[in-house]
Amino acid sequence: MNSHLDNLESESIEIIREAVATAGKPVMLYSIGKDSSVMLHLARKAFWPAPPPFPLLHIDTTWKFREMIAFRDRMAKESGFRLFVHTNQQARSNGVTPFTHGSEVYTDLMKTAALRQALDDGGYDMIFGGARRDEEKSRAKERIFSYRAAGHQWDPKAQRPELWNLYNTRLVVGETIRVFPLSNWTESDIWQYIEREQIPIVPLYFAAPRPVVRRAGQWIMVDDDRLPLNAGETPEIRMVRFRTLGCYPLTAAVESTATTLAEIIDETLAARSSERQGRLIDHDGAGSMERKKREGYF
């Protein structure tokens, strides 16, 4: 009898193949995090011995952790994927940062708008994302094949019915579909699978002594000298790790001593807070994720 990880793996591979078989021009959003690492691994499995027939796309806000960028370039090389990197240069030259414009405007311009630009430029019609339904309540409502009208808007009230494993992938020019092969995975499934398959992940997930400051009750890592320190803030070295990775000024660390996958899994199973608690942008007002998603965010 198959384990539940085998079932999840087979389901995801089926989804990835189905998308590629019906897509005009597929692409995989690669965010460098643990979910992206699992998704990339599944994509390689789905088409083995052939290389996956689509490129990776990374939206670089220029505020990612340095270790993420190093890891991204290494993985692209080792996995044989073509990697495209896109940054919203207009916003960048206008000096948009999380500090000058606030996290909402920053996320809208450097992530959502940047993503829309990259998808339009590339003419992609099916876009893989690593979102999971257990992450957040509006994601729990999303289809595996999530239809977007021209302009990338998501209308949660007009989602296509999705019965069985039959996906309506018909599109007219300008329309796209976001495909979420990890829809039915949980955080602990992801970690157990990473351990079982020995999938490489960014070292930031493991606890290590890192320079952090305490800000609004959260630990923010001082990844480089661009982080403006508030009055009274002095970086201190703490044993921390990250449950989720994003832009470093907007992603909080948790204190932890977990330095191995087994310890991370133990910590995850015993956790009393959700992994996105450290995502500052999720707390930009009630329903903020749904609003971002409507505008084209993953």
Binding site: R17, F47, W48, P51, K137, L166, Q277, A286, E290
Partner: protein, 608 residues
């Protein structure tokens, strides 16, 4: 080892479905602290429980749902107990969102059906029971909720349980369990409650933990639909898919349908290696001993037990769209990995969900369930839904809007396609047309009543006749006196009207004739269907584009006047739509151009 149970919660509005799931997650300690504090905050703002925590808000994740305090779309949540993992789909109770409920039910092993103890079995209870039964859910747990509001009265519970059993008897579930609960207070959810000394069964969660759901798919013959052909280089050709049923081992003889090619399984390729066997649910890549011609949509099956093939089915269908499902209109069908063109040839009956009786129906409307005959443009490999779900489930897609308008389940094939081979004749279209020294064509004139179609058709035929061509005119009014005299002017009848004419035109083109069709033919879908019957270059769509005001001014038969008076219903242009062609081969402005000129344009364009 922990297995995974997939269940849905369903039932009528306000029966407490979302509250029940929230309560299950809370009691089984699957809600994180930060989620609970966000929930407490939300409860004061949107909640319906005063100062207390409103668990429904955990599930109703969309702003619209929180504002309207209802569930609109299905939400999936994941939780685990030491005994089992659960995936729960919380589905809407409102009738208008039944399609979202069906979405959740299509992948569920168990349905937890909520009944409000104060209200008993309602229409939605019956509707949802019928839908889950039709979708092949074999186990039902009836949670009789809000027992605290009827003072945990055993008599109330027993009456509802008995009422439900009467309904369940007609629906063929494998198991039905009835449990009294209060989702709001948490009684009898994770453990027994002191409030009900008279109840001896399990509480809800222990019941779900213990429920045995066996899937028989391993003992069935091997089947796998091909999703993707993997050809990285000329030396490797693998067929990717997920095993639908049965077991396969290297060396097994297989038969690929619809081709019927037999070969042997050489290897089962997986990531960085091979394996010797694969079973239902596995995603694999199969390589065969000999090079065969197979692709997406084909089914690899055990050679001892090949898969059936048919182009005619009887099926249960649920209408998912405000656009009705109409007999005669061509839809796209998606059955496992096949895509083809399908037409409902007959709606046998609609099922009244409240009483389960069969009702006559001309169309199926949003949320209607019916039994239909389905005709597909080619024979597809399939299994009845009751045997292998993934090879018997299909969706119907509208060709113009791309909307998913129906979900269906194949009951059985109406005839085996193998028994109905196309009769190959020695003489063909080319031979017959050659004798007449012409190329056969179909010139399809579409436009409003009074636009000048018949005048142009008549003149065009005279010109062709004079030039020694063999022709025939199919005129709307004339055909309605004979072949189509049994048809009226409803949307369904108009579609059938066009289908018959298109088929007759096709036979005449096959006979080598130049056919001029002069029909209002108001709907794009049917004209596209007509076009699909012909080879490229054979079919010319000519739009006789005369403005409505001009047609009405001419009104050669007095029909517009009648329609305006209301004594003629469903008249195109007045109270029935005309969908103009987007890209006709030719557009004629018959209001300003003479019939003679129009005919010249047709001859110059197609028949020089």
């Amino acid at each position: 080892m922990q297995d995974t149970l997939r269940f849905i919660t369903c039932g009528s509005v306000d029966d407490g479905k979302s509250t029940l799931i929230g309560r299950l997650l809370f009691e089984s300690k699957n809600i994180f602290d930060d989620q609970l504090s966000a929930l407490t905050k939300d409860s004061t703002r949107y909640g319906t429980q005063g100062e207390a925590v409103d668990f429904a808000l955990l599930m109703d994740g969309l702003q619209a749902e929180r504002e309207q305090r209802i569930t609109i779309d299905v939400a999936y949540r994941f939780f685990a107990t030491p005994r089992r993992r659960f995936v729960v789909a919380d589905t809407p109770g409102h009738e208008q969102y039944t399609r979202n409920m069906a979405t959740g039910a299509s992948t569920a092993d168990v349905a937890v059906l909520l009944v409000d103890a104060r209200k008993g079995v309602l229409t939605q209870t019956r509707r949802h029971s019928r839908i889950v039964s039709m979708l092949g859910v074999r186990h039902v747990v009836v949670a009789i909720n809000k027992m605290d509001l009827v003072n945990w009265d055993e008599a109330v519970f027993s009456q509802i349980a008995a009422d439900y059993q009467l309904l369940a008897n007609t629906l063929g579930f494998a198991t039905v369990q009835t449990i009294p609960v209060s989702a709001l207070t948490g009684d009898n959810i994770t453990q027994g409650s002191a409030a009900i000394p008279w109840y001896t069964g399990p509480a809800l969660l222990p019941c779900l933990e213990a429920l045995e759901v066996t899937t028989p798919s391993d003992s069935l013959p091997f089947r796998m639909a091909v999703q993707w052909v993997n050809r990285p280089d000329p030396d490797f050709r693998g067929y990717c898919g997920r095993v639908a049923s049965g077991v396969i081992k290297t060396g097994d003889a297989v038969c690929v349908m619809p081709q019927g090619t037999e070969t042997q399984l050489k290897s089962i390729v997986v990531w960085q290696g091979e394996r010797s066997a694969a079973a239902a649910g596995d995603a694999v890549t199969l390589c065969f001993d000999s090079d065969i011609d197979a692709g997406r949509g084909d089914v690899v099956a055990s050679a001892v037990n090949p898969v059936e093939l048919s182009d005619q089915f009887e099926a249960h269908v649920l209408c998912l769209s405000a656009q009705h499902l109409i007999a005669g209109r061509p839809y796209l069908i998606k059955l496992h990995t096949c895509q083809a063109s399908a037409t409902i040839t007959a709606i046998k009956h609609r099922i009244d969900v409240d009483h389960g009786v069969r009702l006559a129906a001309k169309t199926l409307e949003l949320n209607d369930i019916g039994v239909v005959n389905l005709s597909v443009d080619r024979a597809l490999p399939f299994e009845p839904y009751g045997r292998v779900k993934s090879l018997g489930a299909f969706i119907l897609i509208d060709r113009l809007t791309n909307e998913t308008i129906g979900a269906g389940m194949i009951d059985f094939a109406l005839r085996r396609a193998a028994n109905l081979r196309w009769q190959a004749l020695d003489l063909d279209k080319v031979a017959r047309a050659g004798l007449k020294l012409q190329k056969p064509h179909c010139v399809w004139l579409t436009g409003l009543s009074g636009s000048g179609k018949s005048t142009i058709a008549n003149l065009l035929e005279k010109r062709l006749f004079a030039a020694g061509r063999h022709t025939y005119v199919l005129d709307g009014d004339n055909i309605r006196h004979g072949l189509n005299r049994d048809l009226g002017f409803t949307e369904a009848d108009r579609i059938e009207n066009i289908r018959r004419v298109a088929e007759v035109a096709k036979l005449m083109v096959d006979a080598g004739l130049i056919v001029i069709v002069s029909f209002i033919s108001p709907f794009r879908a049917e004209r596209d269907y007509a076009r699909s019957l012909f080879q490229t270059g054979e079919f010319f769509e000519v739009f006789v584009d005369t403005p409505l005001a001009e047609c009405e001014r001419r009104d050669p038969k007095g029909l517009y006047a009648k329609a305006r008076r209301g004594s003629l219903k469903n008249f195109t242009g007045i109270d029935s739509p005309y969908e103009p062609p987007d890209t006709p081969e030719l557009r004629l402005h018959a209001a300003v151009d003479s019939a003679e000129n129009c005919v010249k344009k047709i001859l110059n364009a197609f028949l020089p």
